[in-house]
């Protein structure tokens, strides 16, 4: 633990730079949220407080349809990827074995490959198979890139787990399934919940991959918002964007609280 009198503390500029970084990160978010409550039709001119644009958003059928698509895809992708990732994490936590490195590398791919490359590869793959682009192709693509996000928190949780607990259960004549169900699962559950939440939020936020593999009927919220932004800055876009931001932030904070390792 660094002591207060640590002289590095007085390395000039460290604290101000850090604060600058925080301001830089949060200023646009704050401005966007504030402006979403702006009464004026000119999106950046403040005249008074109003909820109108939020009401306008909630009455917009296209936005509601896009939101429904987003929620359907995010829910499906979360359930499937979290289930798959939990199984994989359990296997990966057990000692070294052949193929572990390959598995690790494959799990890293969706994180490291630029989104646009994944998007192009997926698009070409679906088209080559003759699949019609739509919610199904979006769902498949989302399951793929959600996998590592669901996997990592579960894996981290298993890492901190004492293997002797499961052994103790076995000593007490628990079957493998019982030991998993009664000992391992409750212990890794916060990791599973945290992974599921991250998968959900990553799916809900994705734009580039969805933009490529979604057909005309499968517009998700970010794809719809992108279309709106390209047409111009309007108060409706402010409101729907602010809504999306606040949902994401709520989820991250929640996921952080749930997933924290017990100290």
């Amino acid at each position: 633990m660094p002591s207060i009198e640590n002289r590095l503390w007085r390395f000039h500029g460290v604290a101000p730079t850090a604060w600058l970084a925080f301001v830089y990160l949060y200023l646009p978010i704050v401005i966007l949220v504030v402006l979403s409550f702006n009464a004026n039709k000119v999106a950046t001119l403040w005249t008074g407080f109003s909820f109108d644009w939020y009401l306008r958003v909630l009455e917009n059928d296209n936005i509601l349809r896009a939101t429904r698509n987003s929620l359907v895809v995010a829910t499906g992708a979360t359930v499937v990827s979290t289930f798959f990732a939990t199984l994989a994490a359990l296997a990966m936590a057990s000692g070294p074995f052949r193929g572990k490195g390959v598995m690790n590398a494959m799990l890293g791919l969706p994180l490291l490959v630029p989104e646009i490359v994944t998007a192009v590869a997926s698009l070409l793959f679906f088209l080559a198979l003759g699949l019609e682009l739509g919610l199904t192709t979006v769902l498949i693509a989302h399951i793929v890139f959600c996998l590592p996000f669901a996997y990592l928190p579960i894996r981290a949780r298993l890492e901190g787990l004492d293997p002797r607990l499961a052994e103790a259960a076995a000593d007490l004549y628990a079957s493998r399934w019982q030991a998993f169900r009664r000992v391992t699962l409750p212990l890794i559950l916060p990791g599973v919940v945290s992974g599921a939440m991250l998968a959900f939020i990553v799916s809900l936020d994705d734009f580039v991959i969805t933009f490529f593999v979604a057909g005309a009927g499968a517009t998700t919220l970010p794809v719809y918002i992108f279309g709106l932004i390209r047409m111009g800055i309007t108060p409706e876009v402010n409101a729907i964007s602010a809504l999306l931001l606040m949902v994401s932030i709520a989820f991250v904070v929640l996921s952080y609280r749930v997933g924290r390792r017990p100290s």
Binding site: A21, I31, A88, L107, E115, D205
Partner: protein, 295 residues
């Protein structure tokens, strides 16, 4: 030692994830590589049995009317611009991110946790929407413009939105958490008594930082640079929204091939080149630091 039931159980547990990633990630990448050496069909698509290196030739050369090849620098300019912007973003996030990570690493446990959450929140929130927020800030008549005007500093319109400068601002903003988090992870493990020891041995602040802190932070710095540079290089909507049509980057060029240009092999070739560059960077990193970036 090898119990066949253990092996079977492990295989069954890994199968869903492994197969999903193999079928929908690895195979598509291979397919993309293959399609990049095929001939384009007239209205999008490819001619499956017509092998051709045209997509890669097209990057450097243009076919003249008499079928002779002439050097075409348009695509190279786009690549160069992309590398410059991504490089600038990497440098700027490093200059801003390293002190930030250092600052966080020097706090007590509770404050650290809170600050890391603060850094992580933008990381997880919708980047498209946050890019849009910059449009509100940067446009003429927007907040920065009118703010400067009110202070008497503005001389006419700001004229930043739809320029490469706006793209650079957007990049630094978007990718800053990618730089701070891995550097922090390296510094977190740091034994600060080493720094004290360096001081006791007569090092000044700068020497202590350079000789003790920096070597510890190096894997994090390298990982951070990769994690900023790669997504910036392949970025699509940040240049699209903040750069307007003028500062076309690789991502926009790729998207074009599947939109108006309808040249799938060229789009596949560009993506494949990007993928190759990324994998190369990964291999170099893993060789050098013996761990995957971000770990």
């Amino acid at each position: 030692m090898r119990d066949p039931r253990t092996v079977l159980r492990r295989a069954l547990l890994l199968a869903p994830t492994g197969l999903t990633l193999f079928v929908f990630m690895v195979i598509p990448m291979g397919l993309m590589g293959w399609m990049s050496v095929l001939e384009p069909d007239t209205y999008g698509g490819v001619r499956w049995h017509a092998l051709s290196l045209d997509a890669y030739v097209q990057f450097w050369y243009e076919r003249d009317l008499d079928d002779s090849l002439i050097l075409n620098t348009a695509y190279m300019e786009i690549f160069l611009r992309s590398f410059l912007l991504a490089g600038f973003a990497t440098l700027a996030t490093l200059v801003l991110g390293f002190p930030t990570a250092l600052y966080i690493a020097l706090q007590d446990e509770r404050t650290r946790q809170r600050l890391i959450l603060l850094i992580s929140i933008p990381f997880w929130t919708n980047l498209l929407v946050r890019t849009y927020a910059w449009m509100l800030l940067l446009r003429n008549g927007g907040l920065i413009d009118s703010g400067l005007g009110a202070l008497g500093l503005g001389s006419g319109a700001l004229d930043v939105l739809y320029t490469p400068t706006a793209v650079a601002i957007g990049f630094v903003y978007s990718f800053l958490p990618f730089m701070v988090l891995p550097i922090y992870t390296s510094l977190e493990k740091m034994d600060w008594r080493l720094v004290e020891a360096a001081f006791d041995l007569g090092a000044n602040r700068w020497t202590a930082l350079r000789r003790v802190v920096l070597p510890m932070a190096l894997p994090g710095i390298a990982a951070g640079c990769l994690l900023v540079f790669i997504p910036a290089l392949g970025s699509y909507y940040i240049p699209e929204l903040l750069g307007g049509g003028k500062s076309l980057m690789i991502g926009n060029l790729i998207q074009n091939q599947f939109g108006t240009a309808r040249n799938w092999p060229f789009g596949a070739a560009l993506s494949f080149t990007l993928l190759a560059l990324v994998l190369l960077a990964m291999i170099v990193y893993t060789r050098r630091f013996r761990q995957a970036p971000g770990e």
